[in-house]
């Protein structure tokens, strides 16, 4: 892995506007880099802003009340927030592509799979229709679809959950992206096919030097795939660390809780440890540390002042007063 940056996200802020004046901030000034050829994990509680971060990078908020209101997103030398629509269209689905979290509703319901895939492929390559169709079938085969010719002729509603997800993956990988954003890419897949998909991702990382931003709540997948991991909580990054450090020595109390609640095969427990309480609502964030209402170490200071994200070790950042005393 090189230290050359492929994607630089700086102070990214994304808000959802319910009217001209009132908005909620889903992503709150986050910064991170993705290096060429690395697999970076992004984890965090449901609703913490992982998908909104990736949709912001992909410039896909247009159809929502969401808007990037601050920051920079530089991909392969191009400032995406300043790029023209034509430039974005050229990059999206080509050099940068995304596997969406909700495959069943991300596919066009009224278009057959072959049409959707062929259009996508031809937009970014010089392939003929025939070639694009063969390529589509080949990609479906690679993601473990047993009967690509049948699936090509199907409409999305005729596919199972995992089949739609794999169609989505095949589409995202069909133009050898430099950056693949994979938002919960294997949630609908059983372990054997998941293993196959993960191998395929590792393969494009090794052979094509692609970078992957892997969003997942499956810490088993994180352990297996990623070199570095970012942990988000309530719209902010709370910890960033190399994968071994994150599992063996998590520093943020939220990360510690996360690691402790993983079900392990053969552990024989009936009730899992979970982090008590729930994520604060975007419209009413606590004043100090956003994790304070749920944190067993919270002090008065935590409840009134928000800690910064600071370097706490080699390649490790953490946002917690416990780590920055004095």
């Amino acid at each position: 892995m090189s230290q050359e940056v492929l994607l630089k996200v700086k102070d990214l802020r994304t808000e959802f506007f319910s009217s001209k004046k009132s908005s909620v901030t889903a992503v709150h000034n986050i910064s991170f880099d993705i290096y060429k050829g690395e697999i970076l994990g992004l984890v965090g509680e449901s609703g913490c802003g992982k998908s909104v971060t990736s949709l912001s990078i992909m410039q896909l908020l247009k159809d929502t009340p969401g808007k990037v209101t601050n920051g920079e997103i530089v991909f392969d030398g191009v400032d995406l927030l300043k790029a023209s629509d034509a430039e974005i269209r050229d990059i999206r689905g080509g050099k940068m592509s995304m596997i969406f979290q909700e495959p069943m509703s991300s596919l066009n319901p009224s278009m057959r799979i072959d049409k959707q895939m062929i259009e996508g492929i031809r937009l970014h390559t010089k392939m003929s229709k025939e070639e694009a169709r063969n390529h589509a079938a080949e990609m479906l085969k690679k993601v473990g679809i047993p009967d690509p010719q049948r699936v090509l002729k199907n409409y999305p509603h005729q596919l199972s959950g995992g089949m739609s997800q794999r169609v989505m993956i095949a589409m995202a990988m069909s133009c050898d992206p430099k950056l693949l954003i994979a938002d919960e890419p294997t949630t609908a897949l059983d372990v054997t096919i998941q293993a196959q998909i993960l191998d395929l991702m590792k393969k494009i990382q090794k052979e094509e030097g692609s970078s992957i931003l892997l969003i997942t709540h499956d810490l088993g997948v994180v352990a297996e795939m990623c070199s570095r991991v970012i942990v988000m909580y309530a719209g902010k990054i709370v910890e960033e660390a190399p994968v071994e450090v994150l599992f063996n020595n998590p520093t943020h109390p939220y990360t510690q809780g996360l690691i402790a609640s993983v079900p392990k095969l053969g552990s024989g427990v009936k009730v899992l440890p979970s982090i008590p309480g729930s994520v604060p609502d975007l419209a009413s964030m606590p004043q100090g540390c956003r994790f304070a209402p749920r944190c067993k170490y919270a002090t008065e200071k935590c409840r009134t002042q928000e800690p910064d994200l600071v370097v706490v070790g080699e390649n490790q950042r953490c946002r917690c007063w416990l780590k920055q005393e004095g």
């Binding site: 449901s46 005729q158 995992g162 949630t187 079900p263």
Partner: protein
């Protein structure tokens, strides 16, 4: 224990492709000759490869689909062919949590209306009583009453999934078919939801048919498990037997592929070679033969029948 649900030789095909006369030319054999019993108060899980027919089985039980053949008994009543009108009152006792939360929530309804709807259909509660339950359930699945007036598209993937769960719990059914109910949730909320399902079960003797591909979760919550492959149930057993002593070669491979949340752990995976057969032309013999390392000549010729190898442990494989 009482049987609450029983499937007997249930099959379902879907037509694909059309001839010039508009007749279907081929069929996807989504569910083949499936039989199992589910007892009151237990968690019965269905696991298996993507596309093996789990959701279709769920939709058949819930009668969103009608089987081509076979019988489905629910609370002592054969329901495989009854009309939707006859089915409607039964749905109070049988709710489904859908795999695709986004697609199963009406985008034009507010969250409070979505969760309230089953109460409107199945009870005579006053609006106040309904709202009380709605708010309670929102809290239980980790959302707040502030969320109640928003529309589904304003929620993250995991939040939508929790709305689906709240919706299924409103009328307190006796059977819940939960199709990948926690797949979009992070581990901590998974734990909360699983603990919730567990507590409800203890309290109200709820029965779950739990569809999932997460074998660690399945191990934790199930009493008995059915493993499906290519539309067939290939193995059914109480949880401990299945995990300690998997008999079917497919179950063995499945259990060996579970990712372990430890970056230093190196595992021995059984990587399945060979192609998954097409569901249009089912293999003549064992459905798993093309990928089975223990395949013998008779496996290609004859479909293995279900045998009870030890009490309660059923397997369909020629090795036994």
């Amino acid at each position: 224990m009482e049987k609450i649900l029983s499937l007997k030789n249930v099959s379902k095909t879907f037509p694909v492709g059309k001839s010039l006369l508009g007749q279907p030319t081929k069929f996807v054999h989504a569910v083949n000759n499936v039989s199992f019993d589910v007892y009151e108060g237990e968690t019965f899980s269905i696991v298996g490869e993507s596309g093996c027919g789990k959701s279709t089985t769920g939709r058949l039980i819930n009668r969103l689909l009608t089987p081509d053949s076979g019988e489905i008994w629910f609370q002592g009543k054969e329901i495989s062919k009854i009309s939707q009108d006859e089915m409607r009152p039964l749905r109070k006792d049988m709710q489904m949590i859908f795999q695709d939360p986004a697609g199963s929530l009406n985008p034009r309804m507010r969250v409070s209306e979505l969760i309230e709807e089953p109460l409107l259909i199945h009870t005579n509660m006053t609006p106040q009583e309904r709202m009380k339950i709605v708010n309670e359930l929102l809290g239980i699945v980790g959302l707040s009453d502030k969320h109640a007036q928003r529309y589904p598209h304003e929620f993250s993937g995991g939040q939508k999934q929790r709305i689906g769960i709240a919706r299924a719990l409103t009328v307190r059914p006796s059977l819940i078919i939960a199709d990948e109910p926690i797949s979009a949730l992070d581990v901590s909320i998974q734990a909360q939801v699983l603990n919730l399902l567990h507590n409800l079960q203890e309290k109200y003797n709820l029965t779950y048919v739990f569809i999932s591909h997460d074998l660690s979760v399945v191990e934790m919550i199930s009493d008995r498990i059915a493993v499906m492959y290519l539309g067939f149930v290939v193995e059914t057993a109480p949880k401990d037997m299945l995990y300690k002593n998997p008999l079917h070669p497919y179950t063995e491979a499945l259990l060996s592929a579970v990712p372990i949340p430890d970056p230093n752990y190196k595992k021995e995976r059984i990587i399945l070679e060979g192609d998954i057969p097409s569901t249009i032309n089912l293999p003549k013999g064992c459905p798993f033969a093309a990928r089975c390392s223990k395949c013998r000549p008779e496996c290609l010729e004859q479909r293995p029948e279900q045998k009870e190898v030890e009490p309660g442990h059923f397997v369909s494989c020629h090795l036994y």
